[in-house]
């Protein structure tokens, strides 16, 4: 989805290399042009590779609108047919991925509308922005009156010091996935699009009609809940 958001590997504390964002997921315009030409030429191998490569993200995004897994799958299929029908109109002004997902969200929204499933998204945004759950339990900070009030009572556990096989275990992914599933709808949508499907913030704002500021608040709340779930999980694992 367009440019990578270069901040994940930020400047102060670099991400450990094993979790670096995969550079290959951000195709250049030249890659996109080649890929689209292959599709126009009827290269089945390229088509199947694309279908498989984007299946997970597409299913996730589709399920934001239609919920039902079977319908989500139909939406993905319909999207690819739309891609084939419209392939001659692709001019490379956006990346192929942006184009693909804009077709997907349009298809999914249309499907939701036909099924009479309303999308009270803007109403939900307001609710999900007003969140009573603090980012970090206040008890983790020293109380008012202490010399270091509002500073950590004890340092949180670092995740990057965990053994890789624990950090990247199926169990870890299951915990993260369950935490995402439990997020309030708009937080789930933003976290899914940004962090699972790799959309840029601009793309998410456009697809979900959100302001940059609201998008960021929802992302912050959502990521924090997933972080908490992982923190709990790793703390429990340590006691075992």
């Amino acid at each position: 989805m367009g440019r990578p958001h270069g901040h994940v590997g930020g400047s102060v504390l670099g991400m450990s290399p094993k979790l670096e964002v995969e550079a290959g997921s951000f195709a250049t315009a030249a890659d996109d042009a080649r890929l689209v030409q292959s599709l126009r030429d009827g290269d089945e191998r390229v088509f199947v590779k694309l279908v498989r490569e984007h299946a997970a993200s597409m299913l996730y995004v589709a399920s934001l609108f239609v919920r039902d897994r079977a319908v989500a799958e139909e939406v993905v299929q319909e999207t690819w047919l739309g891609v084939l029908r419209g392939i001659d109109r692709f001019e490379g002004r956006s990346s192929f991925k942006t184009w693909l997902f804009s077709i997907l969200t349009n298809t999914a929204k249309g499907r939701a509308r036909r099924e009479g499933r309303s999308l009270p998204f803007s109403a939900l945004v307001t609710t999900d922005l007003v969140d009573d759950e603090p980012d970090v339990d206040p008890d983790r900070f020293l109380p008012e009156g202490e010399r270091w009030a509002h500073h950590w009572a004890s340092s949180p556990q670092r995740f990057d010091s965990l053994p890789e096989d624990q950090l990247l275990s199926a169990e870890t992914f299951a915990i993260a996935q369950a935490a995402i599933a439990e997020l309030p709808e708009t937080q789930r949508a933003v976290v899914t699009l940004r962090d699972v499907a790799g959309f840029s913030s601009e793309d998410v704002c456009r697809e979900l009609d959100l302001s940059e500021g609201n998008q960021r608040v929802l992302l912050h709340r959502g990521r924090n809940k997933v972080r908490k779930a992982l923190e709990r999980h790793f703390a429990e694992a340590e006691l075992r």
Binding site: V136, A149, P156, A176, L230
Partner: protein, 82 residues
């Protein structure tokens, strides 16, 4: 004017996403980074957030059903170029 413009840890944790998203002002960013380099707790918290983002980025292992892929291949084969 405040004598100390230092951020507390409780403030830093609220700014983490704005920081990783590059949404802080130059001044806020400087104060955030000054805090982070000397505070182990907030360094660990930032690491937790970054690792969370990376883990979530690898969550998606869902695949289309074989039938759905087969149907798409059939559609691709039968796709009539205009």
């Amino acid at each position: 004017m405040r004598l100390s413009e230092d951020l507390s840890c409780a403030e830093v944790v609220q700014l983490v996403t704005d920081y990783v998203e590059g949404a802080l002002s130059v001044d806020e960013r400087r104060r955030f980074e000054e805090h982070i380099v000397i505070c182990d707790g907030c360094g660990a918290h930032l690491d937790q957030m970054r690792t969370t983002i990376a883990v979530v980025g690898r969550v998606s292992e869902q695949q289309l059903s074989t039938e759905a892929v087969d149907e798409l291949i059939a559609a691709f084969r039968g796709w009539q170029r205009p």
